[in-house]
């Protein structure tokens, strides 16, 4: 069985009897790409590797096409609708290509020209997206990244984490400049977010909570406080609700720490 990249779908151009015209080629390319199928405009002679499966989409040219078909995998374009064409291409796929796993178009990409290996992303992400290999931070489990959540890139002090499908600069991959770093939603300082010295803040918070809850233990109040904190995180880091809903509980985090 071949893999997906070994399927080569060629939209034949040039000036042969079976060449597709330009408009048809661009329309077909748009349809195939939209269906997740890679293809190419073929105008020159190609070298065919035995490890590849080539499918040629050609114009209807009667006898010439038949000669072509006797040697190659050919789809003759006769104005068939998009679904029919895609189905024809997929019939070659299903016979010869290993089905691929699903993927999510959302994962972080590290700009190693900017990354200082500070590991803040590793500490910050609760979903095990990052890991360290040879003392260098890397994206280990991109599938675990939460769709539309760019929070790790906002806490990166060097703006070194990209999400290519994100709407805003420079997280979307635009060059990083002073102006973009001043954007209030970029480069959030975690310690500022949580109020100055993060460790002192947590110690004080814990001490304060112990005193207060020993006097007035209230689950409602704790819940309200958690919600207030989550709303602040959501606003400052642009974290989607769905991600906040799926955050691991304190117990789960503790279990993981104990396990490590």
């Amino acid at each position: 069985m071949l893999n997906e990249s070994q399927l080569k779908v060629a939209l034949v151009g040039g000036s042969t009897p079976w060449s597709l015209d330009e408009q048809v080629r661009s329309d077909l390319a748009s349809q195939l790409l939209g269906a997740g199928i890679a293809c190419r405009f073929m105008n020159t002679e190609i070298e065919i590797d035995n490890d590849e499966l080539w499918v040629f989409i050609v114009a209807d040219a009667a006898e010439q096409s038949q000669a072509f078909e006797s040697h190659w995998n050919v789809i003759t374009y006769q104005g068939q609708v998009e679904a029919a064409l895609i189905s024809q291409v997929q019939s070659f796929q299903t016979e010869s290509i290993t089905p691929r796993k699903a993927w999510k178009p959302w994962f972080p990409v590290i700009d190693y020209d900017r990354c200082t290996n500070c590991m803040q992303c590793l500490s910050f992400c609760l979903f095990d997206v990052y890991s360290v290999e040879n003392e260098t931070i890397k994206v280990q489990n991109q599938d675990k990244c939460k769709t539309d959540c760019p929070a790790c890139s906002r806490v990166c002090p060097e703006a070194a984490i990209l999400f290519p499908k994100y709407k805003q600069s420079p997280i979307n991959g635009a060059e990083v400049d002073d102006e973009s770093l001043k954007n209030e939603k970029m480069k959030v300082d975690i310690s500022t977010l949580l109020g100055g010295d993060i460790y002192a803040s947590l110690r004080n918070r814990s001490a304060h909570a112990n005193t207060r809850f020993s006097k007035e233990r209230s689950e409602d109040r704790a819940l309200k406080e958690r919600q207030k904190c989550l709303i602040e995180l959501k606003q400052k880091l642009d974290i989607p609700d769905s991600v906040l809903m799926s955050l691991p509980s304190a117990e789960m985090i503790q279990e993981k720490l104990n396990g490590n």
């Binding site: 997906e4 990249s5 151009g13 330009e22 408009q23 080629r25 661009s26 390319a29 748009s30 790409l33 939209g34 269906a35 997740g36 199928i37 890679a38 293809c39 190419r40 405009f41 073929m42 105008n43 020159t44 190609i46 691929r100 993927w103 178009p105 994962f107 990409v109 590290i110 700009d111 190693y112 994206v139 991109q142 990209l162 290519p164 499908k165 709407k167 420079p170 979307n172 991959g173 635009a174 060059e175």
Partner: protein
């Protein structure tokens, strides 16, 4: 000795961040060129899968990539194991550039070794 460039187009199929009409206009222009154009549904997907096609396209010789921001393309390619050569790879950004500007730029010179 001249080296033929590879012309690569990313359709960014899995996100609605590039206007459809711009993508179609670019494709119409590319279909008029006399060179081969390799088109992938989504470079992000290819990088995520570490698809060998990325190395095949970008590791050797000059290449011209029509996709999104150069910084994204560069580090996506790095993710897939490409040794990125600034001198040999041009990137045209459909998020920022109009189709006509891209086509004018792409229709220009070929790299030479």
């Amino acid at each position: 000795m001249s080296s033929k460039r590879k012309l690569i187009y990313c359709n960014c199929t899995y996100a609605k961040i590039i206007p459809d009409e711009r993508k179609k206009e670019v494709l119409r222009g590319l279909a008029q060129l006399e060179e081969d154009v390799i088109m992938v549904p989504d470079l992000c997907e290819a990088a995520a899968r570490k698809d060998p096609i990325i190395k095949e396209l970008l590791n050797e010789g000059p290449a011209c990539v029509i996709a999104c921001y150069k910084r994204s393309v560069k580090w996506l390619a790095h993710n897939a194991g490409v040794a990125w050569d600034e001198k040999l790879i041009d990137v045209y950004n459909m998020r920022e550039m109009e189709a006509q500007s891209i086509l004018e730029a792409v229709g220009g010179t070929e790299h030479a070794e």
